[in-house]
Every structure is written in C-alpha cells, then in structure tokens.
C-alpha cells in the first residue's frame, strides 16, 4: 500500500483558559487519509473538529504529535516549503462569503490561486472559465463579486478556487452546513463528481452523521477531543460499538 496522503499521529492540543485552567481540545488523536479516499470526521460543537483542521493546515501548532502530509512534516516546515505543501492541500470553510475577498471579483480570486501553476493571462482566463464550468457556474460569475452571489453559488466558487491548483487533499470544514438542503445536496453531488474525475482525497468534517454516511468511505467519531470510534462509515452506522456513537446516531432525526 502506498503512503497515505495525510497521517496525523498522536496529536494533542490544549488551550489555556481564563484563570490558568487548561482545556484539552485534542487528546492523542490519530487519523489517516489514503489516496483517493474520502474520510469523515463527525462530532458535535466543541469536540475538536475545527482545531484538528487548523492543526492539519498548520494554522496552529499542536503541543505534541506529528502531521505528515505527502511526505512533509507539517509541524516543522515553514517558508517556501510550507507554501509548496499548501498547493497540495486546500480547505473549504462553512461561510463561503467570508472566505473570499469582498473587493475582488470571483475571477480575480481564482486567478490569484492559479498564478503559481498557470502562466499567461489568456491561459488563466481559459482555466478560470473551465473551473467555473466544472463547478456548474456560468462564465459571467467571473465578473461577479461575492456579495452578488447566493451562498450555494459562492460555495461552488470556493470549490473552483480550491481545485485550481489540483491539490491532493481537500479539507471541508462544515462546507455545506450553511446551505439549504437542496443546495447542500447539489454541492455534495459536485464534490462527488470532482472526486470521481480527479481522484482527490477528502477530509470531510461535519456534524451531520447522515450527510457523512452518504459521502465518506471511512469515518472518525470525535467527542471531547478524543477519537471515540473509527471504521468504515457503513459499519459505524449499522453496528456502532461505542456508547457515544450510539447516542449520536439515535439523535439523528431520520425521516
């Protein structure tokens, strides 16, 4: 088996609260994401999902543990090497509008992402058009500003920008949670299509177990900063082993 795209090993992170108390956000967490794999991380607010995403993307450093991404130790790299690693790892956030510069058109935002990989304005223009087409947006959106777009359209544009550099890993932190159900389903369809075509790996962070069940190959259930349970998504849904997973499953309001 080839080396996994992402390997998080024994990561621990604590934050200092007011009054000097320490709050453990992540406690000895290990996860792997293989090539072409879609991995879900599920948990409720405060379980450490977002801290995990921020450590993987090296927005913050863990207290201990390692994050290996395509052979790079993320906790140690900096400068040019880090920028190189960032080309292969992209993230999509919950609030699509706030991840775009409000003063730039969608086209210019995507162009910024394209610059290191595509040279020449004409080539960039063509690539922008192609990317917008991939995510199901019309050409005219290249001239649009984020505020002129709906949440769903904006999230599509964020996906277009994220895949512009053909990354190996896409981290989605509650990427569909702010969207309406029908739009959410559209975005999930889009992510699935991109996965089939490009073989990109996903780390799909969500609070919605039902959504993860239809999208991810393997799932980690996170609770209070610890991995409570992990395994193939279908197994976790059908035969949960841990009490917490059972409780989480029971509270999903099925239709």
């Amino acid at each position: 088996m080839s080396e996994p795209v992402l390997e998080v090993r024994n990561v621990t992170k604590t934050f200092r609260e007011r009054g000097g108390k320490r709050f453990t956000a992540l406690d000895d967490v290990s996860i792997t994401v293989g090539e072409r794999e879609c991995v879900g991380v599920v948990g409720e607010s405060g379980c450490g999902k977002s801290t995990l995403a921020r450590i993987i993307t090296r927005l913050i450093l863990p207290d201990s543990g390692s994050v290996r991404f395509c052979g790079t130790e993320m906790t140690e790299v900096r400068g040019a090497q880090l920028r190189r690693a960032y080309r292969d790892m992209k993230m999509i956030f919950q609030e699509p509008r706030s991840s775009f510069d409000p003063r730039l058109t969608i086209g210019s935002s995507i162009r910024d992402a394209l610059r290191p990989v595509v040279r020449g304005k004409k080539e960039q223009d063509e690539e922008i058009e192609r990317l917008l087409h991939v995510v199901g947006l019309e050409k005219r959106f290249a001239e649009a500003y984020p505020r002129q777009m709906s949440g769903g359209e904006c999230q599509r544009a964020a996906i277009a920008r994220a895949i512009a550099q053909r990354p190996k890993l896409l981290i989605c932190d509650e990427a569909t949670s702010a969207l309406d159900v029908s739009v959410q389903a559209q975005v999930v369809e889009l992510l699935n299509g991109i996965r089939r075509e490009t073989g990109i790996s996903y780390l799909f962070i969500s609070h919605d177990l039902a959504l993860v069940s239809g999208f991810c190959d393997r799932t980690y259930v996170l609770c209070g900063g610890r991995v409570e349970e992990q395994g193939p998504t279908s197994r976790i849904i059908r035969e949960p082993r841990e009490e917490y997973t059972k409780r989480l499953l029971a509270s999903v309001l099925t239709i």
Partner: protein
C-alpha cells in the same frame, strides 16, 4: 396511586376578553397576501393555514421561500410587513383591526414566540429569574416576584430541567445555547399562550440538543395542549413532530396535509424533490434539485416550474388552484406526482 395532575401546576384560562367562538380553530390565516413595505412584488401569495388546538403544524421550506414573512405577518410586528389581502384571525378576531393595546396583550399571553437564536431573545447579563418576572409582570401588574419565581420553577420542573433553582439564578451568558433555547421555550410557556410560534428553534443547535428540544416541545403539547406552529427547514424535526405539514415555495404554500401523506406520498414535485435531497443514514447520497430558487416570486404560474422535472409549458400560466388529493390534503400542482420516478 393517583396520577399527578400536571395541568394543575399551570391552570389554563380563557384568553382575556375573547369568547371562544370555536375552541378548535385557534389561528386562521386566510387568503393572505403580503409584501414588504416599498416592495413591488408580493412575498406571500394566497396563504391559507388553520391551526387547531393541541395540534402541531410545521411549515417547511428553504431560505427565501417566505417562511419568516409568514411568521412576521402572524405576529403583526409593526412596520415589518404590509398585508395587501386576506387576514389573520386569532379565535375569530381579525388581528389587523385589533387595537394596539389588545394586540400587545395578545403577544405573549395569546401567541407565544420562540426564535432561532436562543440568546437573542434573552438579556445575556440579567438573571433568568428576573426575566421571568418581567415577562409575567408585563402582562399582569399584580404578579409579585415571589409568584413569578414560583411559576418559573414550576414550569422548569415540568420541562424536566435538572436544577431549576440554579438555572433561575444564572444569566443566559453562563448557560449553553441549548439550555438558553430551553429557557426561551419555558419563558414563552410561562405566559400560557394558546398558540406557540417557533421559528427554526433547533437550527442553531447540535444534533443531540436538537433531539432534546424536539422532545420538550412534544411534551409541552401533551401536557398543556398547546397549539404549535413550527417553522423549519429540518425535515427530521418535521417527521418527528408534525401533525400537519405545509410546504412553502416561492411565497405560496404548495402542499398541505397530514404529515405522513405529505412526507411519504408527496403530491407536489417540490416536496418530492426536497425529500430526496435530504441526507439519510442509509448511505444513499442526497439528490440535489437542479437550478436555484427564484428571487422574485411570479405573479401567475408555478414558481417551481423552471426546476421541475414534470414541468410543461402550461405550468407557466397554471392557475395555482388548490387540488384536493386526499382527506385534508391538497396540492397546487395539477399533475399526478405519486408513482412518478
């Protein structure tokens, strides 16, 4: 052993000054058309909805379909919406012709409200005990602090709060979002409303807390016989709670009926597509509805036609008349939806 009379803790009383003409129909929305002040187009068109005592009615729809406008029209919040046609009646009285004074009395004691953001309706730095007193005192100047507290404690107990005393002596800022939402529900219920309006009460909360709130609202209905109007986009909540379901799209109620009929044998293409877009635990990926929602709701014809698989040219001029498809179940779509794949 005699069963404790839970109703006894909070005696129901007739609404002040209103003879109950028909105990059954509490709130009636008929042929309601509404627009925002200054807007050219209507936001709600021909909305028809009746709420019966002891029943939970859910209005489902996605953002921008007019759910919240309906909410504002029922509350008659000044300056928010302009009713161009139709009316909203509470126990037979038209809310539009009611005096401001009477309307103020009605809000809270006749019609209670729970909003989406649990923190937003509570003062974050005032003890919950005081907020209960203020709410009750505003409607009845004779209420003393001790009485208000007693009542607050009783209702928190009914709602099975772990430690009512502690909650009453806390400020909302010290409590979690889920706990605050439960307090907001308790606060609304302390005024013994006949109708409880909830606008997305669970959307801002975690799934486990969501399930808890759903349980709480159901218990309220069973204990006090409160009539609940729940506005939500969460089909799971609807499936768990609703007696009647109204589906909204493009400013109209496109389908209305008993829960099981609407959810599991939908008679409108939008309801059907919406059901398929919902992620389920069986591992099937959700199916998106192509296209996007209309920004302006068309005056005539079906607003869903551009996204509908069954649509034909006739849909653009369709009369939008209610077609009965079953007992108390109607749809605006003239086409047969059942059985179509």
């Amino acid at each position: 052993m005699k069963r404790p009379d839970r109703r006894g803790t909070l005696p129901r009383r007739p609404v002040k000054g209103v003879m109950r003409v028909e105990a059954e129909k509490l709130l009636e929305v008929s042929a309601l058309s509404v627009r925002y002040p200054g807007a050219d187009t209507l936001t709600l068109r021909d909305v028809e909805l009746t709420l019966h005592a002891g029943q939970i009615t859910c209005v489902i729809g996605e953002s921008g379909c007019g759910k919240s406008t309906l909410f504002h029209s029922i509350l008659q919040l000044p300056g928010r919406v302009e009713i161009t046609e139709g009316n909203v009646r509470f126990c037979g009285d038209d809310l539009q012709t009611m005096s401001k004074q009477r309307l103020r009395e009605l809000r809270g004691s006749g019609i209670g409200v729970v909003f989406q953001e649990p923190g937003a309706s509570l003062d974050p730095i005032r003890m919950i005990r005081r907020q209960f007193f203020e709410a009750l005192h505003a409607h009845d100047a004779a209420v003393t602090r001790a009485q208000a507290e007693e009542k607050a404690e009783a209702i928190l107990k009914t709602l099975e709060f772990p430690d009512p005393r502690r909650i009453l002596n806390s400020c909302p800022a010290q409590l979690s979002g889920g706990m605050n939402q439960r307090v907001a529900i308790a606060l609304a219920m302390a005024q013994e409303p006949d109708v409880l309006l909830c606008d997305e009460p669970t959307s801002a909360l975690d799934v486990t807390v969501q399930a808890q709130i759903v349980g709480e609202l159901l218990r309220l209905r069973d204990t006090f016989g409160t009539c609940i109007l729940l506005i939500t986009h969460n089909m799971g909540v609807v499936a768990r709670m609703a007696d009647r379901v109204a589906v909204m799209y493009g400013g109209r109620i496109v389908e209305y009926g008993p829960r099981d009929d609407v959810l599991y044998a939908p008679a409108h293409p939008y309801t059907k597509a919406l059901m398929e877009a919902i992620p389920t635990l069986d591992g099937k990926p959700p199916k998106g509805i192509p296209g996007k929602r209309p920004d302006i709701f068309p005056e005539e014809g079906c607003a869903f036609a551009p996204r509908c698989q069954l649509a034909s040219a006739a849909c653009e001029t369709c009369g939008m008349v209610r077609r009965k498809t079953g007992d108390d179940h109607w749809t605006l779509c003239p086409k047969e939806v059942k059985g179509v794949e």
